[in-house]
């Protein structure tokens, strides 16, 4: 793990796509959750993946992060073939994700959760030396907690937090270190209208070089924070385009919006 190339070294592969999937499929027994997905996302591009429940969106995320190995196909991250990499190797290369159902460390405090996220993508993961308050990583953790408005509760156990705060913490974990590409899995699910506005603000104010894919059922959120949309149905991609095109596409409305807007 120490033989990792530096971030600058990786970024030098300029013309590559941030993320490139070729013919990726994933079978669960006889069920094809993903079949022949081919997708490329430029560095800094922001894209929504839409589709009904069971369309394969979260499975797609799981294949990209390495939580599941794909049954076939190739996944490239900034030009590097990461198909066979375990999750932690992809994360250390700048990929991040959030989970649809908050996936946090309930027994640790907010600040410790974020500190772990910062530590996970830095050196000395096995360090036996306690951090000082002024150490760079502790500082980075404090800043991230501040960025998602959780400073007042930073010493509370995560298990005691309100739902909306846990969702904010999910995002903080995904922003740790130097992310280059983030996968957001339904970040707005269960949030109040105010919290949704905060979320849109956080997403739109991310640094321009950070691209992301967002899975979101709330069109108001999804179409406001992306420049392109991929529609999925039954494990396949069936349409790609700009948000306006997708919104007005009759086929999309038929399938996804149930013709309600038609």
């Amino acid at each position: 793990m120490s033989a990792l190339p530096t971030r600058d070294g990786l970024a030098a592969t300029g013309s590559d796509n941030a993320l490139e999937l070729r013919g990726v499929s994933r079978l669960f027994g006889a069920l094809a959750a993903l079949s022949d997905i081919t997708l490329s996302v430029r560095p800094g591009e922001r894209r929504a993946v839409l589709g009904s429940n069971g369309a394969g969106k979260t499975t797609l995320f799981n294949c990209i992060t390495g939580d599941f190995a794909p049954s076939g196909g190739v996944i490239r991250f900034f030009g590097e073939d990461v198909t066979a990499f375990p999750p932690q190797e992809r994360i250390r290369r700048g990929l991040r994700r959030t989970y649809q159902i908050s996936s946090l460390f309930a027994g640790l405090s907010v600040i410790d959760n974020v500190y772990l996220a910062c530590r996970g993508v830095s050196r000395n993961r096995f360090s036996l030396r306690r951090p000082r308050r002024d150490d760079t990583l502790s500082q980075a953790a404090q800043n991230l907690v501040e960025a998602v408005h959780l400073t007042p509760v930073k010493d509370r156990l995560v298990g005691e937090l309100a739902y909306g705060q846990q969702r904010q913490l999910e995002i903080a974990l995904a922003l740790s270190g130097a992310p280059r590409f983030i996968l957001f899995d339904e970040p707005a699910a269960g949030l109040s209208p105010t919290e949704r506005r905060d979320l849109v603000h956080i997403l739109t104010s991310l640094p321009a070089h950070i691209g992301y894919i967002i899975i979101e059922h709330d069109m108001d959120v999804a179409l406001r924070v992306v420049e392109s949309v991929t529609m999925m149905h039954n494990g396949r991609i069936f349409k790609e385009g700009r948000p306006e095109e997708i919104e007005s596409d009759p086929e999309v409305q038929e399938l996804y919006l149930g013709g309600a807007h038609g």
């Binding site: 793990m1 992060t65 390495g66 939580d67 375990p86 999750p87 932690q88 994360i91 250390r92 994700r97 989970y99 996936s103 946090l104 460390f105 309930a106 027994g107 640790l108 405090s109 600040i111 410790d112 500190y115 772990l116 996220a117 530590r119 996970g120 993508v121 000395n124 993961r125 096995f126 360090s127 036996l128 030396r129 306690r130 951090p131 000082r132 308050r133 002024d134 150490d135 502790s138 953790a141 010493d155 509370r156 156990l157 298990g159 974990l173 740790s176 270190g177």
Partner: protein
Amino acid sequence: MAIAEPRPVTYSGRPREGLGELLARQGTAFWVVVALLLVMPAILNPFWLVQILAYSLILGMVALSLMFLGGYGGIVSLVQMTVAAFAAYLVAIFGDSAIAQISLKWPWWTAVPVAIVLATLFGTLSGALSVRTEGIYTIMITLAIASAFYYLCLQNYTIFNGFSGFNGVVPPVFLGVDWGETIPFYYLTLVCAALAYWAVVYCSRAPFGLALQGTRDNPRRMAALGFDVVAHRIAAYTFASVIAAFAGVLLVWYQRQVSPGTAGIGPVVDILIIAVVGGLSRPIGPFVGALVYVLLRTFSLDLLTAAGLDGKRYQLVVGAGFLAVVLFSPDGLIGIWRRLRERHRRRSEERAGQMRIGGGQL
């Protein structure tokens, strides 16, 4: 799988603190215990000092290594006593014992470090074999390793000297002190136990320990944060095995002998009982559990005979005690202590609150 009750920790990078703050932070109870342990030789007779206290501290260290794995890593390893017994055997094999045809008679300052390193290696390898499993499967694999080691000791005569093991293993004379004497031996175990305790407390707040607690709460997310969960768990075994190995060296000096019985299934399970009875959520738990266990083992015979029962049934008392603690307090004896303190605090706050209200009405 969160075995231990998580507790809030209000710290992530503490500024340098003065001695006064350090004294205050640990609380009165802690310093009373420290002072008591230090003056024990002036109060207690040699039997209590060595047979009860020193033995409790040694068993407590082995159980502490299990508490570290179980409480912080969610790993229930039954191999910790085996690691200790292996270290004990190695001290007898490399060092001196009454079995002159096997013991290599190395000086203690070579035999002991080599024993600790090899035992740690053994613990790490056992960890590497079992960390990919969870819960009951980890218990099964580590139990299998523990029984394999027991039968190896029992049946191998060329290295482990079979059924009879090694006797006549004596603590060294060093710096003009015979460390086998009652008081030096007591202080030796006390210092080792205190170091092990401090190491676990310190490590639990260091990045390594924090990340280990992360793998306990949510291993999948840890991988999604860039951590190698398997490597982290194996490293936790290494850390725990160092503590268990030190305890093993003290154990062979305490018993003056080591035989397959040291590594038997009984002692292996006893360590689990000690850790659970004491409490897996804090490093002090195993020591409390060990003291209770040693007291029960030592005096239940007298108790049973006094009650007119067969004195050989002391396991019955230990078992009943275990059952009672697990039934009434899933987080062990320290859980009871914590709840009592919590209740006391709440009651005194209530009383203070009522007095305020009463005062307002007057």
